[in-house]
C-alpha cells in the first residue's frame, strides 16, 4: 500500500465526512423544518442568522450544552453505546458510494470495492443495533416497543431493499457501484432511458422493471430510515417518541443525526443506482480538468438534495401507516413485486440482448 493511496483516502474520508456529510446532516434538519413550514404555509426557523441559516449551529450548541444524564435504572453502558451505534453505520455507508468522477486523477470514491452493494447492505443491517439497544437499555416500555417495532420493520424491509436492486446488478453484471455509474453513463440512466442512445428498444423495455425497482427501493429506504409514512418506531402519538424517549441532549441529537445521515446515504444510493450518480448529460468528467471534477461532485450532491427533498415532501404529505399494514405491505406486496421484477429483468436480459 503506497503512501499516496493512504493519503488520498484519508483526505477523501475527512473531506467527505466533515465538509459534506456532517454539514449536510445538520442542514438537512434545518431544511426539513423549512420545507415542512413552507408546505404548511408557515415560515419555519428564520431567526438565527440570515434566513435562519445558523439555526443548526444554535441547535448543536444547545444540545451540546445540555446536561448529559442517564436516567435511573437504565443499563448505563448500552444506554450510552446505542446512540453511537445508531449514527456510525449510517455514516460509513457512504464509503463505497462514488460521489464524483475524478479529481486530479484520483477517483472520487473512498473504497471502490467489488462487493459494493453488499457492503452497503451489511453496514446498513448493523444500524438496527443502535435502535434495539436504545429501546432495551432505556428500561422503559415505550422505548422498548419502539425498538422491537423498529427491528422487525428494518429486517422486513431489508428483504425488499435487497431484492429491489438485484435487477440493476443483473443488468450491470457487477456489484461495484462505480460500475453502475459507468454503465449508466454509457447506456443512459436507468430511470431515464432517453438519455444517451434513445433508439435502443431493449433499454426502453428495461425501463419498466427499473422504475418498479426504483419505487420499491425508494419505499424500502423510507422504511429503513424510519421516516414517515413508516416512522412507527418513533410514533409520538402511540409511543411518546419511541426508542429515544429516554434520551436527551447530545445523545438524543446523535439519534436525530443518525436518522438524517441514513436518509442522506439512502438518497446517495438512489442517485447512484438509478439517476446516474455524478453524471449529467453534456458535462464531461474529471479527466477533462479539475473544474469538471468539482462540478461532478456538486452535481452528485445536487441530485442527493433533490431526493432528500422528495423524502421530506412525502413525509409532510402522507399519514402514518398502522403497524400491521406496514408489515403486510412489506411482506405481501413489495417482497413479491421485487421478486417478480427480478424474473422479468432476467427474461428481458435472456431474450432481448441489448
Amino acid at each position: 500500500m503506497d503512501t499516496f493511496f493512504v493519503t488520498t483516502s484519508l483526505l477523501k474520508i475527512l473531506g467527505i465526512l466533515f465538509l459534506v456529510i456532517l454539514p449536510m446532516v445538520s442542514y438537512a434538519v434545518y431544511a426539513e423544518r423549512r420545507v415542512s413550514a413552507f408546505m404548511q404555509d408557515r415560515l419555519g426557523p428564520n431567526r438565527v442568522g440570515p434566513a435562519g441559516l445558523f439555526q443548526p449551529v444554535a441547535d448543536v450548541a444547545k444540545l451540546l450544552l445540555k446536561e448529559s444524564f442517564s436516567p435511573a435504572n437504565v443499563n448505563t453502558f448500552y444506554y450510552w453505546l446505542a446512540p453511537c451505534l445508531a449514527l456510525i453505520p449510517a455514516l460509513i455507508t457512504i464509503a463505497v458510494v462514488p460521489f464524483g468522477s475524478t479529481l486530479f486523477g484520483v477517483p472520487m470514491v473512498i473504497a471502490d470495492v467489488n462487493v459494493g452493494i453488499l457492503y452497503v447492505f451489511a453496514v446498513a443491517s448493523l444500524g438496527v443495533y443502535g435502535i434495539v439497544l436504545a429501546g432495551w437499555a432505556s428500561n422503559s416500555k415505550y422505548p422498548f416497543l419502539g425498538g422491537v417495532r423498529s427491528s422487525s420493520q428494518m429486517i422486513s424491509y431489508e428483504l425488499s431493499l435487497g431484492l429491489a436492486v438485484i435487477p440493476v446488478f443483473l443488468v450491470v453484471g457487477n456489484l461495484r457501484l462505480t460500475s453502475v455509474v459507468r454503465y449508466q453513463i454509457e447506456h443512459g440512466w436507468f430511470i431515464a432511458p432517453f438519455i444517451g442512445d434513445w433508439t435502443n428498444i431493449g433499454k426502453w423495455l428495461l425501463t419498466i422493471p427499473m422504475f418498479i425497482s426504483f419505487v420499491v427501493f425508494m419505499i424500502a429506504v423510507f422504511a429503513e430510515t424510519n421516516r414517515l409514512p413508516f416512522d412507527l418506531p418513533e410514533a409520538e402519538q402511540e409511543l411518546a417518541g419511541g426508542y429515544h424517549t429516554e434520551y436527551a441532549g447530545m445523545k438524543f441529537a446523535l439519534f436525530f443525526l443518525g436518522e438524517y445521515a441514513a436518509m442522506i446515504s439512502g438518497s446517495a444510493l438512489v442517485v447512484t443506482l438509478f439517476f446516474g450518480g455524478w453524471h449529467f448529460p453534456g458535462i464531461p468528467d474529471g479527466a477533462h480538468g479539475w473544474v469538471f471534477g468539482l462540478i461532478n461532485i456538486a452535481l452528485f450532491f445536487a441530485k442527493v438534495a433533490i431526493v432528500i427533498f422528495i423524502f421530506m415532501w412525502v413525509r409532510w404529505t402522507l399519514p402514518r401507516f398502522r403497524f400491521d399494514q406496514l408489515m403486510r405491505l412489506g411482506w405481501l406486496f413489495f417482497f413479491e413485486i421485487a421478486l417478480v421484477n427480478i424474473f422479468v429483468v432476467a427474461g428481458i436480459m435472456a431474450f432481448l440482448p441489448t
Binding site: 420545507v35 413552507f38 408546505m39 404555509d41 415560515l43 428564520n46 404529505t317 402522507l318
Partner: protein
Amino acid sequence: MAITVPRPNLNWRERLYLPAIVAGLAITFKHFKNMIFGRTKVTMEYPEQKWDANLPEHYRGAPALVRDADGRVRCVACQLCEFICPPRAIKMVPGELPRTDRFAKVEKFPEEFDIDMVRCIFCGLCEEVCPEQAIFLRKDYAITGFTREDMVHRKDKLLEIGGVMHGVVLKWNEKK
C-alpha cells in the same frame, strides 16, 4: 354502544391509492411553491411586525394601576382584585395614609402591590371587580424577563404602565 362505521367500498382505481397519493403530493407541493414565490402570506413576523395598531378596543393586555388627573394612585387597597384573581397573581400589603396627606380621608393605600405576570392569565376580572376604577388591563402584551423575579410587576412598574387615566369617576373629590 359501539357504532360500527361501514367502510366505503372502493373501486380498483381507488384501491390502488396512487392517484390519491399523487394528488396529496401535488397539494403540498403547491403550497410549497406558493410559499417559495411569496404568494402565500399568512404569518406575521412578530418582533418586526407588531399588531399594536390592530389591537381591538377591548384588548386585554398587562394589568396596571392608574393615577387620576390629580396624580393620586386610585387604588385604596381593598384587595378585591387579590380575592377575585383566579391564578392568585396579585399580592398586596395595605397601608394607612398619613394624616397629613392631601387625600388623608381616603385612609388606605397599597403599600406594596405585586402582580406576578408569570401567573397572570389576562382574564380582566381584576379590572371588572375594582370598585375604584384603579386597575385597568392595558395593551402591553410582550412581557418578558430573564428571571421569575423580573416577571413580577411591582407597584412602581404597574403605575408606570398604567399612567394617568382621564374620565374616571372622581368620587373622593366630590360629595361625600
